[in-house]
């Protein structure tokens, strides 16, 4: 009785964590299952290209993002130059544009008769008619300029939080600027760099839209093909297992690279860095370096999409678009609510019973590092099993075939979103709750309130700002999500992301611009809050 009263909430939280952990765990078993003919065919013919392409993307996208993200972060953190206060937040704006939208834009701009190729010909009097963007090089370009903000954001924060004492000591010791960067600033920022580049690589591995549009064989595309084109869940599962294994290795490497992350803050005194004012050529150079990624990753794609949308603005008034928008918003709304509900219960469980809940919550929050396609397959397997079981029972006792009543419904899709995005909600809720002193909980409990009452009347009310930001982030991420939605969507359901992708594949880019701009507009809302945080700093 005592234990139940004490651990009731904690046990319920663990149960919720397990619902998310189980689909991820089922993927692991595919390592052990022997493959059938389809798998052998895939293994012998395309697996090598999946591996080499993924490795190539990881290395070059990771490297490119490190260079662009770190240099721009260094410049805005250390120097004062014209328009810096705008560039500080403009530099993470590419996050508002889904990578696949950037790919559509550049494939068109650099293609035959595209705006850039036409003008390059005019300016340089060259005979270049088009640049083949449908290649792995194109994908590297797209990913670098879409994803470098992850490195930028974390590195900027790391540089800003470094004590000026380190740099002053290095200067006194006679180190020049490059030596200070190499010997002091970069090693101190290593955890941030590792964190940023890991996010970039995981987003690259999780992508489906860019690789599908540019015709590159990647794991995510392979998983989708294995399930949809070949109808082989074992092969899809095996590919997912390899991808999951790769992600696990990346996370382990990242943790190793982070090392003793806390040393970064050891001398975090009040002596903040004094910004050096740049003048003349150096100021223009800094401005130029920082504005280029913004132009490539944000301004050009945005202007391109807006110019396309002028041609196809009428699409907004079509019933089809309205239906797609409503179902897209609807599913994003319910998914974000579901994630928030799970996150509130689990995070509050972590607070009331950390010993019991924390280990499960930590595993459940790994879901965000799992590509959408893997999460979809992970959800699909238990759902198909459940459907088959129900069907068999129904056949045996009622001589009636129920068919697939769970798989291919909103339930399955929402479940996959929950697996994938719960971590985001949990992080937002945790960040809100961490600011609430534990004494507040104790005071409420001592005043006779139950856990449920404490959560609803205190924590949700105090932490509402953070919780709603979490809701918004999940809402936007679901809106952008492509691979899991494509695998698990109910028959006839289309989302803004799927619609845009289908239109782009059909080369109806002008029509694709409207759903894309809708997504981008909504993505700008959470980024606006991020801008406010950065301004407050």
């Amino acid at each position: 009785m005592i234990n139940y009263l004490k651990h009731g909430w904690g046990l319920f939280s663990v149960l919720l964590c397990l619902t998310v952990i189980i689909p991820i765990s089922t993927i692991i078993f595919f390592f052990l299952i022997p493959g059938d003919e389809t798998w052998i065919h895939l293994r012998d013919n395309v697996l090598n290209s999946y591996i080499s392409n993924s490795l190539y993307l990881m290395i070059f996208v990771g490297g490119g993002s490190i260079i662009i993200g770190s240099i721009t972060a260094w410049l805005v953190a250390m120097y004062d130059f014209p328009f810096k206060k705008y560039l500080e937040w403009l530099l993470f704006m590419p996050l508002a544009i889904p990578s696949y939208a950037v790919a559509y834009c550049y494939a068109d701009l650099l293609g035959y008769g595209g705006f850039i190729t036409n003008n390059l010909g005019l300016i340089f009097n060259s005979n270049i008619k088009s640049i083949n963007f449908y290649s792995i090089y194109g994908a590297v370009f797209v990913f670098i300029f879409s994803l470098y903000p992850y490195v930028y954001l974390l590195m900027r924060q790391a540089f800003i939080s470094q004590s000026s004492a380190y740099i002053e000591i290095a200067k006194i010791s006679g180190l020049n600027l490059l030596q200070i960067i190499r010997k002091i600033c970069l090693p101190l920022s290593r955890p941030a760099l590792a964190g940023g580049v890991t996010l970039v690589i995981m987003e690259t591995l999780a992508d489906y839209g860019v690789s599908d549009y540019l015709g590159i064989n990647t794991f995510t595309k392979g998983i989708y093909k294995a399930w949809f084109n070949l109808g082989d869940i074992t092969s899809a599962g095996k590919l997912s297992a390899i991808l999951l294994f790769t992600v696990a290795i990346i996370i382990i490497i990242e943790r190793k690279l982070r090392g003793k992350a806390q040393y970064n803050n050891e001398v975090r005194s009040n002596r903040v860095l004094q910004l050096k004012k740049l003048h003349g050529f150096t100021a223009i150079l800094a401005l130029f370096i920082c504005i280029i990624p913004v132009i490539i990753g944000f301004i050009i794609p945005l202007i391109t999409l807006i110019s396309w949308s002028i041609e196809s603005i009428d699409i907004i008034y079509t019933l089809e678009f309205i239906n797609v928008a409503i179902s897209s918003f609807g599913i994003a709304f319910f998914a974000s609510l579901l994630c928030a509900l799970f996150a509130l219960i689990i995070v509050f469980g972590m607070r009331t019973n950390p010993k019991l809940v924390n280990p499960f919550a930590r595993i459940a929050s790994l879901g965000y590092s799992i590509p959408g396609a893997v999460a979809a397959i992970g959800v699909l397997i238990p759902l198909v099993w459940l459907d088959n079981t129900i069907n068999n029972i129904s056949l045996k006792y009622f001589n009636y075939s129920t068919g697939l009543i769970i798989t291919g419904t909103w339930f399955g899709l929402l479940f996959a979103y929950l697996v994938r995005f719960l971590a985001l909600s949990m992080q937002a809720v945790e960040n809100s709750f961490i600011k609430i002193s534990k004494s507040i909980d104790y005071a409420a409990r001592i005043l006779g309130k139950s856990n449920r009452k404490i959560l609803t009347s205190i924590h949700i009310k105090i932490g509402w700002g953070g919780i709603s930001l979490g809701l918004l982030i999940v809402f936007v991420d679901v809106l952008k999500e492509l691979p899991a939605t494509m695998i698990l969507r109910p028959f006839g359901l289309s989302t803004l992301a799927i619609k845009a992708h289908e239109l782009a594949i059909d080369e109806r880019l002008y029509d694709a611009s409207i759903p894309l701009l809708t997504i981008i507009f909504l993505c700008l809302i959470p980024l606006y809050f991020l801008t406010k945080v950065i301004r407050q700093e």
Binding site: M1, I2, L5, K6, S437, S439, I440, Y442, A443, A444, R445, I446, L447, G448, K449, S450, I458, K461, I462
Partner: protein
């Protein structure tokens, strides 16, 4: 369950063990209506754990807790929210999204017209008339702690637990607020346990002081008892200024620079620590028992003066001790003082 009659807290053989090895062992403690007991000890000695066990935030591994006539742990179990305990925290913990009125009314579950009156009366009691619609952020720390007290009293608590509630208040207003709060609690006959690491605070506010070390109660008594008759060297040092002198016992006698002290066990030959309060020294005048000293240097440190003398027992090392500054001038002039052995506490040096 609401136990109002016989508000007494009785703790019997209470034990608790953390995974890191820290624990509290066999705590026995009674707190009576209107009594204020201060639990004093260094960080990590288990004093806050003791409060958490009483409140029910943690489950003891053994023992019993009885509030009034009912066992809340041991023979039966009552969860925190039904123990009717009041608690004040170091970080005050007012609900930031609620007004003073709603903070105080938080535990008043039934909505009735009397609630407003109860809240107003409580505010009057804690001296915050007219603060009804204010929010925590607009008040000083002291005012917030008064609201926290009103909130705790609204629950009509059987016992009150104070977890270093005055530590975050500024030194100027701290005792004004503390005295007010303690007098309200005494008036309402609420047994109160206060945790602190500040001996001064404990002496000023407590009826009884419990000294804890390494999870055990090592001493207890009224403030004056603990100052003059502490049983443990740690309590002696904690309760007031002392000078420590190490010496060996020979035939039941311990030599000090101020003469020899008898110990009970005359056969004992071990090493001893003598803790001497400044109260042990007084002006010699023409007293025959006056002791001659050779003062080498001195340092004025407010109420006390630190004096360095030649130690006749150990000429290699000088000895430093504390005397009250108001008598030092005379001692310095005459190089003489009187030594009262009752203020020297002798402990085996482990």
């Amino acid at each position: 369950m609401h136990m109002e009659i016989n508000k007494t807290l009785k703790i019997t053989n209470l034990s608790h063990c953390y995974k890191n090895g820290k624990s509290i062992k066999n705590i026995n403690l009674d707190v009576f209506p209107g009594e204020v007991v201060c639990v004093l000890g260094p960080s990590g000695c288990g004093k806050t754990t003791l409060l958490r066990l009483i409140a029910g935030f943690e489950e003891p591994s053994d023992g019993q807790i009885k509030i009034g006539k009912d066992y809340v742990f041991g023979k039966s179990y009552v969860p925190t929210e039904k123990r009717f305990i009041g608690m004040l925290f170091q970080d005050i913990a007012l609900f930031p999204h609620l007004s003073v009125k709603n903070n105080i009314g938080f535990s008043l579950t039934k909505k009735n017209s009397d609630n407003e009156k109860i809240i107003e009366n409580l505010l009057k009691k804690v001296g915050l008339d007219g603060f009804l619609n204010r929010y925590g952020a607009t008040m000083s720390g002291g005012e917030q702690q008064r609201v926290a007290l009103a909130r705790a009293l609204a629950n009509n608590p059987n016992i009150m637990l104070l977890d270093e509630p005055f530590a975050s208040l500024d030194v100027w207003s701290k005792y004004d607020i503390a005295y007010d709060i303690i007098s309200i609690l005494k008036e309402s006959k609420t047994p109160t346990i206060m945790v602190t690491h500040d001996p001064q605070e404990a002496m000023k506010l407590a009826d009884r002081i419990i000294v804890m070390l390494d999870g055990k109660i090592i001493d207890q008594g009224t403030p004056s008892e603990l100052y003059s008759e502490a049983k443990h060297s740690f309590s002696v040092s904690l309760m007031g200024p002392t000078t420590s002198y190490l010496s060996k016992a020979i035939d039941g006698l311990i030599k000090t620079p101020f003469g020899s002290i008898n110990i009970v066990n005359k056969k004992s030959q071990g090493s001893y620590k003598v803790l001497i309060r400044p109260d042990a020294f007084s002006i010699a005048s023409n007293n025959k028992e006056a002791i001659n000293i050779k003062i080498i240097s001195f340092k004025y440190i407010g109420l006390l003066t630190e004096v360095e003398i030649v130690d006749e027992n150990n000429k290699d090392n000088n000895f430093m001790f504390l005397v009250y500054s108001n008598i030092f001038k005379n001692i310095y002039k005459n190089n003489k003082l009187l030594f009262n052995k009752d203020w020297a506490f002798v402990f085996p040096n482990k």
